[in-house]
Every structure is written in C-alpha cells, then in structure tokens.
Amino acid sequence: MSAAATYDLGKLHGGLRLPAEKSVATAGQILRAPIPDQLVLPLTQHVGNPSQPIVSIGEYVLKGQLIADTDGSLGAPVHASSSGKIIAIEPWPVSRRYGDTAPCIIIECDGQDQAIETSEIIVDYTRLDPDSLLQKILQGGIVGLGGAVFPTAQKLMQAVTAPLDYLILNGVECEPYISCDDMLMREYAHDVLCGAQILMHALGLPHCQVAVESDKPQALIALGEALGEMDDKRIVLKQVPTIYPSGGEDQLVQLVTNKEVPTGGLPTDVGCVVQNVATAAAINRWVSHGEPLICRVTTVTGEGVVKPVNVLVRLGTTVADIITLAGGYTDQANQLVIGGPMTGKSVSTDRVPLVKATNCVLVLVDAIGEANAKPCIRCGECAEVCPIQLLPQQLYWFSCADNEAKLREFGLTDCIECGCCDLVCPSHIALTSDFRMAKGRMRELADEKARAKRARQRFETRNLRVLLEQEQRDEELAAQKETAREIGPEAIRAIVARARKKPAGDQDEDK
C-alpha cells in the first residue's frame, strides 16, 4: 500500500508560520446547509468571459440544469443548484475586486430539490479518449476551487499541449482559518482520489502526487486509508511543511519538484499541472455521478461568528443565510471577508452569494485601526519572508516614486500578493495593497501605451494609404500624359477645343 506520505521536498524562500485558527471549525463534521429560499447565481464565477443565460424569467429549472453557458471562449457554464423558478436576472452585490455588483440569475427555490435525469450524463470515462473527457469536464462548470477559479477544462486543455511530468493535487490550504479542503479530504477522500484518476486519464500521466500540509494529519490518514482500499500505486501522498504560502500554485510546484516556475510563465512550463483537491473531487462528482459543480464545502469562521463550521453549501446561497448555520454573528463582528485573512476580499454586505470561489467566509472582530504607517526603516524583514525573494522595501520605494522601470526590474509583476511582507513590517506599511495598486497603475499604463500605439498605427496606416493614393494618382497622371504624348499634338488640340466648347455648352444648358 502506498499510503505513507513521502517527504523529499524542495525549498521555499521565506514564508511565515502563522497561527492556524482552524481547530474550531474542524471540530465537528461538515454541515449540510439547507435549501435557501432564494439562490443568487452570478454569471461570472470564473476567470474569463461571463456566461450567457439560456433560461428566461419565469422558467422552472431543475437542480443541475444548465442555466448559463459559455460563448465558446474562456469561461465555465453555470448550473442551477436547486429546483425552482427563475425570478430575475439582474445585478446583485458580489465579492469581486473591481466593482461591487454583477449580473446574477436569481432562483426562487421550491424546496423540492428536484434534480435532472443523470443517467445519460454519467459516462465511463475510461472509455473516453482524453479529448472527449476534457470536453465532458468543460460541461460540468468546473473551475479551480482553491480560489483562482480558472476554468479547469481549459487549464487542462492548455496543459496537454506541453510535455508534462507531474500532476499535483493541492491539499495544502495554508491560509489561517480556512479548513474546507481539510474537511473535504477527511470526508470525501475517495472522491478526491477518483478525481485524481480521472485527471491522470485526461492528461495521460502515469502518476499523481497529492500534497497535504503537515498540520492536517487526519486528512492524511483519511487519504491514506482510501488509497489503501483503491490500491492505486500511481498516486503518492506528499506531506509539505506548514508554512504560508506553500499552497500557492507556483510555490507548491517549487516545493514538490524543486523547480521554479519561470516569471510570467505557468507551472506547465516546468512540466507540472496543479489541481486543487476540491476540484478533483468535483470532477469525480460530475464525471462519475452526473452532478455538475453546484455545491462546495466552505468554512464559515472567525471570532465574529458564534460557532465556526464547515458547510456543504449550494452555490448561490447568500452569506446571510449561511451565517445562521454558524450560530449568527457575535456582537463584536465588524468585518466580513470572503476568503482567508491574508488574501481575501472584504465585502460591505452579507447579501453576497457564495460562489464557486468561496472557500471561506471570515467574520473578524477588531478591524485593525486605520493604517497608521510610519516610514520604512529598511529593516529588511519583508525581504526575509517574501517567498519570491523580492525586496518589498525597494518596491515600496519605487512605487512611491512611481518609477515603473525600476518596479519592473525589481520584479513587481512577480509579486503574488501573499501579504507576508505586511505582517512583519514594523512600520505597518500596507505593502501588499500598495503593490496591488502599483500593478494596476502599470496595467493602466500598459493599456494606455497600447492605445497610443494603436492610434499611432492607425495614423501611420492612414498616412501610408494617403501616400499610396497620391502615388497612384501621380502614376495615373503620368500615364495620361504619356498617352497624350503618344497621341500627338493634334489630338491634344482637339481635346482642348472640346474643353473650351464645353463650358459654353454648359452655360447654354443653364439658360
């Protein structure tokens, strides 16, 4: 039995050992959230273009029914997570980095939870060739559930074009508070490993590594047992040290393979495909059980809720609905974060729905006092912990000076916004936030440059066109002259005479 975890690992620079804050939420089992009265399903729950609704208001939909489909470009379809009536397709508050609302399909649930017929959609994937299997995964609406929400099928399609050596399942989950993957591995180890088998088949890879952080012994045991039952020697468990941010995709690749993902590149550039364990489980649910991505495990936690829990929740359930499962807010609750404390996004209202990306709903109690930043004392602590080995203090300096060239030289675009530097800065400088904005400015600038370039190109094309036309005219004129010369003086005289006569004739006509 290949159940034991192995240890040979590469090294990561810096990182932080953070207090886990996970034990409360992992004390019990995964709760199953009840069907809410209303589901709010954003059309964009993934990286890429919004999906297009294919249902109309008033229509009755079944659980698992396709309600919005991709337009063929990068994206993922959306399915109804319970049965009921479509009552609106309208903007609704969501958790995103830019903008506060997004178009959503709103379903009024009938409480029946009636599902579509699945017998036709379940396939024996081993009989499918990899391409058809990828197409199949595409239809399941599956996206990376670790938080990146890149459409899984398209990520895999991209990956198979490169020579691959590794398939890594990411069960690291290194951010404090979040424990949904831990609980998923404990309770759905079989789904995770079956998902790994499907992925191996789709990618044509003969082995798979499942990386789990060392602070999740129970998950490791559960996976080990399931693996023992399945007796699949191709799958190997790897224990990685508990250091934030070892669960970042590129960081995990570095840990498992000791290879650095090149700047601006993808893990596939060093022969790796990384998939979150929850994604693997979702793939199995879809391929082997006909259940598209309509629910996920989410951690509801923080000092701002009474009883932190992990819940299996239908996508589209709002935060407000789910908070009650955690015993409601405590009196001190004053900050709502979707995601973890290091990289999550704070939202202003609990009306936002839980979506494919929502691995954690974090309610915090003490909003940290308004940024009272002191000047940088160049202590270098930030550089010490930066997993990318950047010099945040220098980046900060250049970002204050708005020196784009230096920012590039010092690797701003390589910053993964992990937040490590913020946490150790004695001057309490909001470095990560600053870098986020600097990146934004850089992108804007790049856009502007691109626009300017396009404008210049258009201008130059126009000039060229004018020039060409002019040349053409000149040539025609020359040609005419040539003809005129060829026909000789008489003919010219004849033409001139004709021309002289003509105005007179015109005048005649005018009269």
Binding site: L18, P262, A333, P341, S348, T349, I377, L391, G411
Partner: protein, 351 residues
C-alpha cells in the same frame, strides 16, 4: 448586515517601530551598568543632555517639515540616537559638546536628509564625528577606568555634574590630572615607539584580553546584543560580519608577527567594537538591506575599523568606518539584489 471594507491582509503586524526602538534601549542597560561602574555617572548625564537635544531637535524639525510631532517622537528613534551619542563620547563632557552632536545628528544627518528611513548616514555617528573635529580636546579627555587599584582621582557625581554644566574641574584638579590615555591610544603609541605588544600589556590600563574596564563594557554590550539577536530585533549578519571583518586582518597580522601587532582579542574588546557590531552598524536605515549586502557591509565596517586603528591618525575608527560604509550602501544594495524566484539565475538575463 453591513460592514466596512478594507484591503487584505486582515492580520495585525506583530511588531512596531517604537517597540523595536524600546528593545534597543533596554538592550543597552547592561552596557550602561558596566560603563557607569568603570567611568562614573557621566554617561547618564550625557545621555540626558543628548536626549533633551535630540528630542527637541526632532520636534522642531518635525514641526518645520509639517509632520505630526507626536507620531514622530513616538517612535523613540531620537532616544536611540541620543543613547548612541552618549556611549560614543567620553564620560566627562561639557553639555554644549553633547548638544552639538545631538543637534547635528537629528537636524542635519537625519531630518535634512528626509527623516527616519531616508537618512543615508547613521545620525549618531555623524554627530559624533562633527564634535570630534570641532572639539578635539574635549573628545580626548578619557578618565581612567575605576578598577580600585589605580592611583587616580575619580570625580564624584557633583563634580561630574559641575563639569557637564560648566566645563570646569574642581580647583584642585587639572585637565592633565584627569586625562588618561585609552588602551587604544596606549597600544597605538606603544607600537609606534617600537615596543612589543607584550611590553605594552604591562601598562596597568591594559586588561586580560582588551583594555581594562573596556573589556567588561564590551562583554556587557555583547550581552545586550545577544538579547537583540534572541528577540530578533537584529539579525546575525551584521554583528558577525563586523567582528569577522576586524578579526580576520588582526588575526592574520598577529599570527604572522605577534610581537609587533595587537592581539585580535584586544581589537574586539576595546574601544567601541562591540557597540558598533551590535548597536551601531545594525541601524537598519543606514545599512545595506539584503542579507548578502549586510554581510558585505559588516565586513567593510570591521575592516575599516582595523585599518583606521592600525594606520589612521584616530585611535578608534568606528565612526568613520560606519560613515564610509554608509556611503557604499547604494552600491552594495545594487550589487546584491537577490535572485527573484522564477527569473533566470544569471544576472542580466532576467527580463
């Protein structure tokens, strides 16, 4: 429910600048005790004068520059500067000399360069060098360490205070009666007079492994430094590099020809070596910023101290060594940029 919005991360940093500066001040307590033990209460008086003028200068400059005076003073960095100035100066010092050093440090070296975080030079050392040039006589007045066996008059607290305030000694004492050569001076002069180090060591001012008294101040300073290392206020790179930079050349010279060179331990345990290694060179603002850069910076400081003590005209070289290396910091930082993960390893190839 509605909530306020903020930007990630949502975790309060564990440390802050005032806490760091306070730790540095606490870490100086052992050295202070040793210093007062051997050289009397002058250090405390000097610290009070320096603190007064550092804080006043800082407040005035903060106001002039339109910054929050409270927030600026709260970081305690002016007090650290004051403490380092007090440690650098001889224990007997008229107040105006100390005040000059303090004001130059804070007003010119710190705030005219942009304030905390922007100063190129270590403010305390800049202030010290200015008074060293402006008041050479006062800066040479080192008393003998109180070892209990030297035939020497030690000033009482009152007499010390009087000297601090007025710059005059009690009538029955003269400058020369008080002034003693420091061990560094003794060795330098002795070696120049072609005596061997063993011969020089017979001098009652010389101790077991450094200068008498000085060696114990050095030990206690190192204890404070160790505390800073344990508390992770400073990292090991700079102290180790400074000591290595001093130990290597002195060790080699002593190994090759022990009679005409001072022993390496004498270099380490006399003058301001330990203070420099743990408290002065480790000032993050004016030091190199990457770990590799700090090793180079520290080695440079250590070697320059050796060079100045051996060949220079000043007895101790700490202040000049620091200021010279401060100037080299931009170059060091430029040359020691760490390899960014995911970039080509050979410099220049990374995009």
């Amino acid at each position: 429910m509605e909530f306020e919005r903020r930007d990630a991360p949502f975790v309060t940093p564990a440390t802050n600048v005032p806490a760091i500066m306070r730790e540095v001040l606490y870490a100086l307590i052992p050295a202070t005790l040793a210093y007062v033990w051997y050289f009397g209460p002058g250090l405390i008086l000097n610290f009070m004068v320096a603190a007064l003028f550092c804080v006043a200068g800082e407040a005035a400059m903060l106001r002039a520059r339109g910054r929050s005076v409270e927030a600026g003073l709260a970081d305690c960095s002016a007090l650290v500067t004051a403490a380092l100035i007090a440690f650098a100066l001889p224990a007997l010092m008229p107040w105006w000399v100390t005040a000059t050093a303090a004001l130059f440090a804070v007003v010119v070296a710190k705030h005219l360069y942009g304030g905390l975080g922007f100063n190129i030079f270590n403010p305390a050392m800049a202030g010290y060098v200015v008074v060293m040039i402006a008041f050479p006589l006062h800066l040479n007045l080192w008393a003998a360490p109180d070892m209990g066996d030297l035939d020497y008059h030690y000033l009482t607290l009152l007499e010390t205070a009087r000297y601090t305030l007025t710059g005059t000694f009690p009538d029955y004492l003269s400058f020369d009666a008080i002034s003693r050569a420091t061990p560094l001076d003794t060795v330098k002069a002795g070696l120049r007079d072609l005596r061997t180090f063993e011969e020089i060591r017979v001098n009652p001012l010389m101790g077991d492994f450094g200068g008498r008294g000085w060696e114990w101040i050095g030990n206690f300073t190192a204890v404070g430094g160790a505390w800073l290392l344990i508390r992770k206020i400073i990292r090991w790179q700079i102290p180790l590099a400074v000591l290595t930079g001093l130990l290597l050349p002195s060790g080699i010279a002593y190994f090759l020809e022990p009679s005409i060179h001072a022993s390496p331990s004498f270099y380490l345990f006399s003058g301001g070596t330990m203070l420099c290694a743990f408290f002065i060179a480790t000032d993050p603002v004016s030091a190199a910023t990457s770990n590799k850069g700090r090793l180079i910076y520290g080695l440079g400081v250590g070697f320059l101290i050796y060079a100045i003590r051996r060949w220079g005209s000043y007895a101790d070289g700490v202040a000049f060594a620091i200021l010279l290396m401060n100037m080299a910091v931009p170059a060091i930082d430029y040359l020691t940029k760490p390899h960014i993960v995911g970039h080509a390893k050979t410099p220049g190839k990374s995009q």
